[in-house]
């Protein structure tokens, strides 16, 4: 019976100390006396992740409800321009022409996606066919038409490639996956760049189109000797065979995994603009690094740097900032379980700097001076409890100090204002 008040106190400790310890580097929490309903719209690719965030965030802040409509990046950008949602999500950065209609848009990278080349060759059931970007481009241009083409054979001497026509599968719907894939191929082949170019829907000269990752995967699985491109998570979940692709440095063939795609985001992060900068040219395909998988991209949250554009209350604006901050920090812990690649610290930092710029009628909402260096804690971004508090709790739990002593210690902390209850 005596334990229950203690458990409550511990719970208070666990939640309040981290907030205090980083008071300067974390946005204000949503006003608990009010209810907030935050609306977002856009890309379907990050939807499973955003939906999980919605649930997890609501567990911590039960007065905040997120309503995210997965209507596609194009629709998200449209609603962002029309200022009918609090934030949008897009797989591709805003084009220059779109940005002109949405002045002051910040790009906050939220997750990383990778595109995987899948194939169905009955003679080669396992993964690991080696392909270069140039070969993939030539297949999609219709220049390489048979699996035993000498260019493919050259990199795969150990495989017995069949003398069969390659059946090319592609996305029929406009999609961020196509954008990343064509972005990559445009860097690999100047002919591809000229004839096809990069966009969410491109003029493919050949191939069978199907809607959605599941559509392309369906064609590839059901059609012998076919090739297609799908989102990483989809290839993993369905257990399809996928190709290893030559890295940007041209030093080896890289298997697509969460690690190699994460490496790509690290390799590319040095050249990224600030959140308020011009992202229209940003691309992390062909990222430098020996272990970087070359076909990867960010997916973005879009919001205005002046939130009175999309909300009419400062409290709601603060809630939006707190939620976005949570998404790119705590929220990243949920990425891997859904096969999204979590952001690297460098990219999270760009997002935080971006959020720190946001104002509501000119007032800064999030006072952030850069990462806090904490001597007891090597990772400045994590919300670890300082070790001396853990020690105190352990002594108490082990019976080394009495309940009274422990309460006295806590009360001291509260009186001194170190602990906020």
């Amino acid at each position: 019976m005596k334990m229950i008040p203690w458990l409550i106190l511990i719970a208070v400790l666990v939640t309040s100390i981290p907030l205090y310890a980083h008071a300067v580097s974390v946005p204000e929490i949503p006003d608990p006396s009010m209810e907030f309903s935050i609306t977002g719209a856009g890309a379907s690719f990050p939807y499973p992740l955003i939906d999980l965030w919605r649930v997890e965030y609501n567990k911590e802040f039960s007065n905040v409800y997120l309503n995210y409509q997965s209507i596609g990046s194009g629709g998200g950008v449209k609603q962002h321009i029309e200022k009918t949602v609090n934030f949008a999500a897009s797989d591709a950065p805003l084009k220059q022409s779109e940005k002109e209609l949405a002045q002051g848009t910040l790009h906050i990278p939220e997750a990383i996606g990778g595109v995987v080349i899948t194939y169905n060759i009955p003679q080669i059931p396992e993964k690991g066919l080696k392909l270069t970007g140039e070969i993939i481009a030539d297949i999609y241009l219709g220049k390489i038409t048979r699996w035993n083409d000498s260019q493919i054979a050259q990199y795969n001497p150990e495989l017995s490639l069949p003398d069969e026509e390659i059946i090319v599968a592609k996305r029929s719907d406009g999609s961020g996956t196509t954008f990343v894939f064509t972005d990559y191929l445009s860097t690999q082949s100047s002919e591809f760049e000229q004839k096809i170019g990069k966009a969410k829907a491109v003029p493919w000269p050949l191939g069978v189109g199907a809607a959605g990752n599941e559509g392309v995967a369906g064609i590839v699985r059901n059609t012998p000797h076919s090739i297609g491109y799908v989102e990483l998570a989809y290839a993993f979940q369905t257990g399809m065979s996928f190709a290893f692709v030559e890295n940007g440095d041209k030093t080896g063939f890289i298997e697509p995994t969460l690690e190699t795609i994460s490496a790509a985001s690290k390799g590319a992060s040095a050249n990224l603009p600030a959140a308020e900068g011009d992202w229209s040219k940003v691309s992390i395909v062909n990222a430098p690094g020996e272990k970087s998988y070359p076909i990867a991209s960010f997916t973005y949250l879009l919001l205005y740097d002046e939130l009175s554009n999309s909300t009419n209350s400062i409290k709601e604006a603060k809630t939006i900032i707190h939620m976005m901050h949570w998404m790119i920090t705590d929220g990243q812990n949920h990425s891997e379980s859904l096969l999204y690649v979590p952001l690297s610290d460098e990219v999270i930092e760009i997002g935080k700097q971006g959020l720190a710029r946001v104002t509501y009628e000119g007032e800064i909402l999030f006072d952030y001076d850069g990462p806090v260096e904490n001597q007891n804690d090597n990772n400045a971004d994590s919300l670890d409890i300082p070790s001396w508090i853990k020690d105190n709790a352990r002594w108490w739990a082990d019976g080394l100090i009495s309940d009274e002593e422990y309460i006295a210690a806590l009360q001291y902390l509260i009186e001194q204002g170190i602990l906020k209850v």
Binding site: E98, G197, A199, V202
Partner: protein
């Protein structure tokens, strides 16, 4: 008619309300169509401004920023070819079904008619999925491949590698989808043929086929054409199942030149690309322009159907009312 004059005398107030209600309902339909046309014209205006009528005859389809160029011809052709093929396959089958159901003993005809109508209740996405995962496989292996092997080199219709997601598969599924509509209407029309007329044919020694040919078809012709047009309407506008099965080529490669080639219809390109089309530039206006053409074609089909039916009625009026 006699009864209604009676009720009008009973209360002219309720008659006024009825008149107003009917007028509102009637105007409502007109207003919706007018608004639709206005919205489509307004939102697709940039693409007409850029390409003019060339948008209808163009074959380019390029949404890449800086190279935007759009033409709707391949999708217009794709729609007409798939709907036409579906009619070619579906209408004779439907009329056959209607003939059987209308003339079979009630014990067989009743349940069979019910089953055919049940087909109409199946959502199109079910047809699409069934076509994509099951039908396509068998159709490719047992119909397309033999046809390709036999005629692939000589007849252009059967050239190209058959892989199941093409004009032919989409048309066959479309044909299956229009069967319930066409056959249900056709059955009712055949049932409406006066029994004396059929019996008269039998009395003159006609066989069953001759009875249909001499007594039923002349009487039911206009109705059968109307039924087919209803089917055509469904085939032209069908989206879900076609999008899943037609292979979704774009631009010049979508022009139907062989049964075994992927193509694209007007409704499927809209379904495919609308969601991710950038709100800036010509992509969205182009898709809405395609929708405008689709609406125009649908209206044309209806006008042609109307003219056909009324002309036929005039010509045959004497015969029918005898």
């Amino acid at each position: 008619m006699k009864k209604s004059t009676h009720t009008i005398k009973m209360g002219s107030k309720s008659d006024k309300i009825f008149k107003m209600g009917a007028a509102i309902a009637g105007t409502f339909v007109l207003a919706i169509i007018a608004l639709m046309v206005f919205q489509l014209v307004f939102e697709s205006y940039p693409v007409w401004e850029e390409h003019g009528l060339g948008f209808i005859t163009g074959t380019d389809w390029n949404a890449v920023e800086g190279r935007e160029s759009f033409g709707a011809l391949p999708y217009v052709l794709g729609t007409l070819v798939t709907a036409g093929l579906a009619m070619l396959i579906g209408v004779p089958l439907s009329i056959g079904i209607a003939m059987f159901v209308s003339d079979a003993p009630a014990k067989i005809g009743g349940p069979l008619g019910f089953l055919v109508e049940l087909l109409a209740a199946v959502p199109s996405v079910i047809y699409g999925l069934w076509g994509l995962y099951i039908f396509k496989e068998y159709f490719r292996d047992f119909v397309e491949k033999p046809l390709h092997a036999a005629f692939g080199d000589t007849i252009f219709l059967f050239s190209g590698t058959p892989f199941g997601l093409d004009i032919f598969t989409a048309s066959v599924i479309l044909a299956i989808m229009i069967i319930p509509t066409v056959s249900a209407v056709a059955r009712e029309i055949m049932r409406a043929v006066p029994q004396q007329q059929k019996e008269a044919a039998y009395m003159l020694g006609a066989t069953r086929w001759e009875m249909f040919r001499l007594a039923v078809f002349p009487y039911a012709k206009t109705g059968l054409i109307g039924a087919s047009i209803l089917g055509l309407g469904r085939a032209v506008g069908e989206t879900m199942a076609v999008t899943m099965l037609i292979g979704n080529a774009t631009g010049a490669s979508a022009i139907p030149s062989s049964l075994f080639k992927p193509s694209q219809t007007m409704s499927s390109i809209i379904a495919n690309e609308f969601v991710e089309a950038s709100p800036v530039g010509l992509h969205l206006p182009a898709l809405i322009g395609v929708a405008l053409i689709l609406l125009g074609i649908a209206i044309c089909i209806n006008i042609v159907a109307h003219i056909l039916v009324t002309r036929m009625l005039k010509v045959k009026e004497g015969a029918i009312n005898n």
